[in-house]
């Protein structure tokens, strides 16, 4: 299915931001992911037409980066950091607790399409290790129990949009540093919220 007018409009705005059309590929892939929850072949065809490169060139980039999903994910994408800072702060316990609670192993989605679990490399929150991301919204200073609480809360509340600040207040511990400005922009799975590219969602 080709893109709806609004998305195409947005795509055109993004393309105009770059001196060469093909440079817009990265952000356009976020638009694609925002549409279907993953990069569908239809979207690849669409993007290829929009920026004048071949489909396989689009696919080459889309399949290189692990944050461009090649398959649909659940409503909540749980990314637990397994890199070194988190590892020495016992991230393996967090990983185990999340895995146990969800019953998922790496890169798996449950039957209800609710949770997708993945363990990932450093997410830039070393100062607040161990850390997790829900739909790419970061929560720092986690404990294994808090991580399970977080998952339970998601099950019960099913928030449409997840917002980092809110999750941090409810489930997080010590943060790396404080931006001091409350951010109401969150994300839906599995698209990082970028205001510039119009993929962030505001929680009212």
């Amino acid at each position: 299915m080709s893109w709806e007018t609004e998305r195409l409009e947005k795509a055109k705005q993004i393309i105009e931001m770059y001196p060469q059309k093909r440079s817009a590929l990265g952000p356009l892939l976020y638009l694609a992911q925002d549409k279907d929850g993953y990069i569908s072949n239809e979207s690849i065809v669409e993007i290829s037409g929009l920026i004048g490169i071949t489909e396989v060139q689009v696919q080459s980039v889309a399949s290189f980066y692990s944050m461009y999903k090649q398959e649909p994910t659940g409503k909540y994408l749980l990314s637990v950091c397994k890199s070194i800072s988190c590892e020495i702060s016992n991230s393996s316990d967090v990983i185990n607790s999340v895995k146990n609670f969800t019953g998922l192993s790496n890169n798996e989605t449950d039957d209800e399409n609710f949770f997708t679990y993945e363990s990932v490399e450093c997410i830039g929150a070393c100062g607040g290790a161990p850390a997790i991301q829900i739909n790419y919204e970061t929560v720092e200073g986690l404990t294994p129990d808090k991580a399970v609480d977080l998952c339970k809360w998601l099950k019960e509340e099913e928030p449409e949009i997840v917002v980092a600040d809110e999750l941090q207040d409810k489930f997080g511990g010590v943060k790396s540093f404080d931006w001091a400005i409350a951010d109401n922009n969150g994300a839906t799975s599995p698209v990082p919220g970028f205001q510039t590219y119009d993929t962030s969602k505001e929680k009212k």
Partner: protein
């Protein structure tokens, strides 16, 4: 740019050019550095690390890839130090981790850089005991190329070729890490006119061609260099033969012409040589049927025919696939039978079977161009047949020149494939549907900016047979006036330039029809020509041949013309004969024989000389060498005479430029073009292609091209339609091409189903509703 630098490699002082890559500079001085990803004709990527060398840096010795390091003054390089050796072993060990080592069943084994370099530089044993990566073996990436991803070492030669050189990047790396693989997008195959080049440059057996898979071992192949005759570019090739069968054609890197590349047509159009449909015996029509007769009876028959008719009117229709030596013999023979031979050269009796040729621009007024001039010009101006389809490797040369900053101007409606490369595309606003220039060229400011007082090379020829020479005159006169001009006469077929160099005067089929109509219609020789099928005058010629007393056809396959013949003489083909051919630069190049003459075939010249001798003519040549040395001696402006001896010298391996007086006498076709523009595509239903199973399907798609406006005019919404003209109609796929002017429909001339269409008549186009109709046809 060309400043010399001195540097040291393994203790030896070497010279290189400033900016040159180390690996290349070493190669030039005879030091070979192993490599997988680097290829002289591609941009360097530093992908495989096989070319690591040690250089001195201010911080001590460092390992660097020599394919991405430029030589500089006083650079000190080690290519064989212990560190380098260790690095090479390491790189190979890594490369072999996932490589399946299935050499015993791999086509590349024996000529595989991975195999060879592992032997020469590898660690000798493996420490890897884990399971290797697995992929489905092999997957098709196109109709003619297969990919075994397990063997791939990710050098990116194939992907860079498709991106940088041929400009159709339909293969790319997808996934990453351990899963990285070359692949195509689903349902978007690697449909490229040049895909075979990737098979040739793949340093392992990952890419293979359907036509060669499991056919031979490289050490069993007999090899000879030759020159391709699929178009008039003259690509240098190597013919590979095993057990008297042509199995493969490879591109040779001829700096002047193809620079290593070939089109898939040139590369894979050879299986026909061994087709069971080849003509192998002499056929003589007795009453209604053909009978096989032997050569002496055949010569006797011709002799008697000519004697009986007492001073008969004899005409020759020739094609483009003969060698220079054969044209030379045809010329001698034709002259000896020409009743007007002593009157004037205007009374030639030789007619060339390609409606695209016209009088051209050959006189001393015009400086003729070479392919090197494309790179050295400021601008290239094209107004000709579709270059990509008719001279595919010339398209690559143009693309390369443009990449290096040469400006490109394209006229007309037949070169839309060049539009994306062009700085200035002068289509519908400037050129009418009947190929007339609508505006004075001096009024076009953008054109002025590009060509005025600049070095310009033009590729000029008729876009279709119906284009009038006047329009081209206007362009060339303008270019001549405002720029420093060099000219390519764009005759695209095989050895057309050999024909026009060696035949005193060539006329067209137009002249044949008018002159022959008023003659006695005694005898016609058709030599490698099928005018009935391929010409605007086809049906007229058919009638004329039917009215002819005796038609003698020399050919390799039966076709629409040989069907009308009274005597069919089977001839040798590419690879079965030795000779020279002349390309569009007037470069004379060698074709070599590597296959025996099949059946009772003979070369065209052998037949003609036998006939001449039976008639008591004083034409005596015992071998093709005799013909060659005599024709070579007739060249005037020349660096060296293009004799076999000279051409076989290594220094002349890639041809010798030659000039000779040219005399063409061809009128325009007296007919305006209609809204149906018929153009020749690379693939079609030529008898050579349909008898080559590996590529026969490539020309099967029936499609027409037209703009959205035209599509709307006919009210077509789907992408299939029915094209009707008179009583014939065909189903066609629709390809949108908005560069085409309004009301113009482009159709391929050389496809099955299109042969009944007449480009001068009206036609109708209707949407096809019922898809079932399609499958029936």
């Amino acid at each position: 740019m060309n400043e010399k630098v001195t540097f040291t490699v393994d203790g030896k002082q070497l010279e290189g050019k400033q900016g040159q890559l180390l690996i290349e500079a070493c190669e030039d001085s005879g030091i070979h550095i192993p490599r997988f990803c680097w290829h002289k004709r591609l941009d360097p990527v530093g992908m495989c690390r096989m070319c690591l060398v040690e250089i001195d840096t201010p911080r001590g010795k460092a390992l660097v890839p020599s394919c991405t390091t430029q030589v500089s003054e006083e650079l000190i390089v080690e290519t064989e130090s212990d560190t380098v050796k260790k690095a090479q072993e390491g790189v190979l060990e890594f490369l072999l981790i996932n490589h399946p080592l299935d050499c015993p069943i791999c086509d590349k084994a024996g000529e595989c850089p991975l195999q060879d370099q592992t032997m020469a530089y590898g660690p000798g044993e493996s420490r890897f005991i884990e399971e290797k990566r697995h992929f489905e073996k092999p997957i098709p990436v196109s109709d003619i190329v297969l990919l075994d991803r397990e063997r791939c070492i990710l050098c990116a030669r194939c992907t860079r070729f498709s991106d940088e050189i041929s400009g159709d990047p339909l293969i790319e790396f997808i996934q990453r890490g351990n899963k990285t693989q070359v692949n195509t997008f689903p349902d978007e195959p690697f449909k490229s006119y040049f895909s075979g080049n990737t098979v040739q440059i793949c340093p392992v057996g990952a890419l293979t061609a359907t036509s060669y898979r499991f056919k031979a071992r490289p050490w069993d192949l007999k090899k000879v260099s030759s020159t391709c005759n699929c178009c008039s570019l003259g690509c240098s090739v190597e013919l590979n033969v095993s057990q008297n069968k042509m199995l493969r054609i490879l591109g040779e890197d001829n700096e002047f012409t193809n620079q290593g590349w070939l089109s898939d047509k040139g590369r894979y159009n050879f299986e026909y040589l061994h087709s069971e449909n080849r003509l192998l015996n002499i056929h003589s029509r007795e009453n209604e049927d053909y009978q096989t007769i032997n050569i002496s009876d055949a010569i006797e028959k011709i002799k008697n025919k000519i004697k009986d008719l007492d001073n008969p009117d004899i005409k020759f229709i020739i094609g483009a696939n003969s060698t220079n030596e054969e044209y030379f013999a045809i010329n001698k023979f034709a002259n000896s039978l020409n009743r007007n031979e002593f009157l004037s050269k205007d009374k030639s009796n030789v007619y060339f079977a390609d409606d695209h040729i016209y009088n051209g621009y050959f006189s001393e007024e015009y400086t003729s161009a070479t392919f090197e001039d494309l790179d050295n010009s400021d601008a290239i101006v094209v107004w000709a047949e579709d270059i990509k389809d008719n001279l595919p490797v010339l398209f690559l040369r143009i693309k390369k020149a443009v990449k290096n900053g040469v400006k490109l101007v394209v006229f007309g409606h037949t070169n839309t494939a060049l539009e994306s490369l062009a700085d200035l595309y002068l289509g519908a606003e400037i050129v009418s549907n009947n190929f007339e220039l609508k505006t004075s060229l001096s009024n076009i400011q953008e054109l002025k900016d590009i060509i005025d007082s600049k070095k310009v090379t033009t590729i000029i020829g008729k876009s279709t047979p119906l284009q009038k020479k006047d329009s081209l005159d206007t362009l060339i006169n303008h270019l001549q006036k405002v720029s420093d001009l060099k000219v390519f006469n764009c005759f695209s077929k095989a050895n057309t330039f050999g024909a026009i160099q060696h035949i005193d005067q060539i006329k067209g089929l137009n002249e044949f029809c008018t002159e022959y109509e008023n003659s006695n219609k005694n005898i016609v020789f058709t030599i490698g020509a099928n005018p009935v099928n391929s010409s605007f005058f086809g049906s007229k010629i058919k009638n004329l041949l039917e009215d002819t007393d005796y038609v003698i056809s020399l050919d390799i396959f039966k076709n629409e013309t040989t069907e009308l013949a009274d005597l069919i003489l089977p001839t040798t083909a590419f690879g079965e004969k030795e000779g020279t051919i002349t390309n569009m630069e007037m470069r004379v190049m060698k074709q070599n024989k590597i296959l025996p003459d099949p059946g009772s075939t003979l070369s065209e010249w052998e037949y003609l000389i036998m006939i001449a001798q039976s008639l008591g003519k004083d034409i005596n040549y015992d071998s093709v060498n005799d013909l060659n040395s005599e024709l070579a001696s007739q060249f005037t402006m020349t660096e060296a005479l293009p004799t076999f001896d000279n051409l076989n010298k290594p220094s002349n391996l890639f041809g010798i430029l030659n000039q000779k007086e040219i005399n063409l006498n061809i009128r325009d076709i007296d007919q305006d073009s209609s809204s149906l523009l018929m153009v020749k595509r690379l693939y079609g239903d030529s008898s050579t292609q349909i008898n080559s199973p590996s590529i026969s399907m490539l020309g099967s798609e029936r499609f027409i091209e037209l703009s959205e406006f035209t599509l709307d005019k006919y009210g077509i919404k789907s992408n299939v339609a029915t094209l009707t003209q008179g009583s014939s109609s065909i189903f066609v796929n629709i390809k949108l091409n908005n560069l085409l002017p309004d009301n113009l429909v482009l159709a391929p001339i050389n496809r099955r189903g299109f042969e009944k269409l007449d480009s001068t008549k009206d036609f109708d186009l209707k949407e096809t509703k019922n898809m079932k109709d399609l499958s029936v046809n």
